[in-house]
Symmetry: C2
């Protein structure tokens, strides 16, 4: 008998940003956040976990085929320990259960998007790990309960345990028991929500978000004001999602991205994630909305120069045509939705882009995706682990 589970988990991109911890050990945030879960058909982390009493060297983890140490007391070890504890409680109550909690684990994880894409893989990766172990251990805890564990692995991972539109409630309990993710609306509520990821080259490595956010908490004079503003934004964007009011959804998303980057700039020393290409994408999206006479697209930027542009499916032809026109890529773009080209609004002022335009490759690549579902449990034929308990693909 092989005890094993394989799951996938999605990437999520926040509309209301997580930036700042009130407890760095438990990863308790200074503010609630809200994200859109992206479709795993396009972007996903896959994780297989196997428990076997014959594994001799303790717990082992391979990431993209390369073994990674599981540091004692590290964030990964904490997640594994907590999930084992829940399994142990089940085993204590029901003696017929195999003692998986006492067996070493082999875990293999794989991201189907290149690290070079600049997408944070820690959120989907940690969520896939937690979902995989929860499946292996047949845990009865809800996704929100699991999100408390995922949160301790990587803050925003908690939001990748749900599909659709997801809130991470900051909570107030010092133990973190109420700092968890919950669904605001499922993907089926607003399936027209599409996203275009613009992968932007950067000649300069930015500040890590783990380090940067605490610098902001400690030194930004504007940061406390941001914390006072976010609760209203959380309410307003939840209402916009409920009523499928894209213009409000988009305006709040852009405002919060700008507010987040503003407090980064107000940090000492200042933190910059947006570069000239990012600025230009902002200018193009603002001009697209202006010239179209309605808000049809929203940009948002995480801790890096890549843009994610949210738009509804019927407007993607316009958004995509605009971005391709001003930010030509080296390689042709493979669009799973085969979006058609569309002419720009007549009134569009190309002068918002820098003189001479951008050289090819300023935007390295585009990814067109949409709102998606939560973690999926796959069949054993999809396992990343071979009979020998090692990844089928090793590096």
């Amino acid at each position: 008998m092989v005890y094993e589970a394989t799951t996938t988990a999605p990437v999520n991109i926040a509309c209301i940003k997580y930036w700042g911890k009130r407890d760095t050990r438990l990863i308790l945030p200074t503010n609630s956040s809200l994200s859109v879960t992206l479709d795993q058909d396009h972007l996903r982390s896959t994780t297989s976990s196997r428990a076997d009493s014959h594994f001799e060297a303790g717990d082992k983890l391979w990431l993209n085929g390369k073994e990674e140490a599981i540091k004692d007391g590290g964030r990964l070890a904490v997640c594994i320990r907590e999930l084992r504890r829940w399994r142990r409680e089940m085993e204590d109550k029901d003696e017929s259960l195999p003692k998986l909690s006492q067996w070493p684990l082999h875990i293999a994880s794989f991201n189907n998007f290149p690290t070079a894409a600049g997408l944070a893989s820690s959120a989907s990766g940690l969520a896939a790990l937690v979902a995989s172990l929860a499946s292996l251990f047949k845990l009865s805890q809800s996704a929100s309960q699991l999100s408390i564990i995922a949160r301790q692995g990587s803050g925003s991972a908690c939001r990748s345990l749900f599909g659709g539109f997801v809130a991470w409630r900051e909570g107030s309990d010092p133990s973190g028991s109420d700092s968890l993710a919950e669904e605001v609306a499922p993907r089926e509520h607003w399936p027209e929500m599409h996203a275009l990821i613009c992968v932007v080259s950067d000649a300069k490595k930015g500040t890590s978000s783990t380090f940067g956010m605490q610098q902001t908490v400690e030194t930004s004079t504007l940061f406390q004001e941001r914390l006072r503003i976010v609760p209203k934004r959380m309410n307003d964007i939840s209402r916009a999602i409920s009523s499928k009011d894209f213009a409000s959804f988009a305006q709040i998303t852009m405002d919060d991205s700008n507010s987040f980057h503003a407090v980064c700039l107000d940090t000492s020393p200042p933190i910059f994630y947006l570069n000239d290409v990012s600025r230009s994408i902002i200018a193009v999206v603002e001009e697209l909305n202006r010239s179209a006479g309605r808000i049809l697209a929203a940009y948002t930027f995480d801790a890096g120069p890549n843009a994610v542009i949210y738009t509804l499916e019927p407007d993607m032809p316009l958004v995509l045509s605009t971005i391709k026109k001003f930010f030509p890529t080296f390689e042709d773009f493979e669009d799973p939705f085969r979006t058609q080209n569309q002419d720009l609004p007549k009134d569009f002022n190309a002068g918002v882009v820098r003189e001479g335009g951008w050289e090819k490759g300023a935007v390295k690549g585009l990814i067109h995706t949409r709102v998606g579902d939560g973690p999926r449990v796959l069949g054993k034929e999809e396992s990343l682990l071979g009979d020998d308990g090692k990844p089928k693909t090793l590096i």
Copy 2:
């Protein structure tokens, strides 16, 4: 008898930024600001004013040899009207005075720095105009009283009526009678204060500050918090100037520049003045301070990508060598102080600059200057106006 006066006025660069009006007609600011006046030996506006009953076509103005309209009710007209009013009061009290207040004016103004340098010429230009008319009219008002007039021409012009370190007090009277400039310390108090202006190319014209600042007032959610922070910064930097504490002066200057650009980014739509070269200059100055183990340089940016770096004279060799190393210019730099080169700190991490470094001309030029004095009255041989009442140099 020719009634004429020629004066020069200096450029000033704020350490605590003016951004936002509470009264757009009277130009009353939402916060106090503080600047360093730069040396007129290097950068200046010169203005000649002549009153003559024989001038037939009313008031006329030439800027850099080109005639400019004096718009009725415009800012320039307001300044001229107010100064005439004060002259009229003198004439009413003393009948022996020539009736200059009733005669048309010819005014010629000239900036010795190219517009392309990206330095705001409105501050020095308006200050030179006000100083010139005050001299022509032999007004007895103090420089602070005159600053109230200059303020209505162009907000930050009020600070160019003083040398040294200058505060513009926001005031509280709705009439603007207490929104004026005053000296915090004269240049002689801290003559070692030097400045290096880095003129940065920009492929994209930025938002005008007049428009941008009101957008911030109306839409930024963080702006009110900035207003709560500035009074403490004003006190702290005044104290730093009094005690010649450069490290504090520099930290507050950098913090306030970053805070100003943060609220610009938090504006809807967002306003960006810093570009990738500006960001890189910030990174280099921060790294210079870190590697030297003390704060020896402070960057500050107005509504554009140009950096002004404040440092004390003994540290200018290090600052200048660092900037020249990472931002090579096309043309050789003419340094009036003939600053020597100096090696960078051993520990300096060149990795803060983007991969491959900056191409020649990313910084177009450098201007090395220092703290300077207030407006100067020149002799009639320096007049910009010829015998015919027109500028000697016409375009």
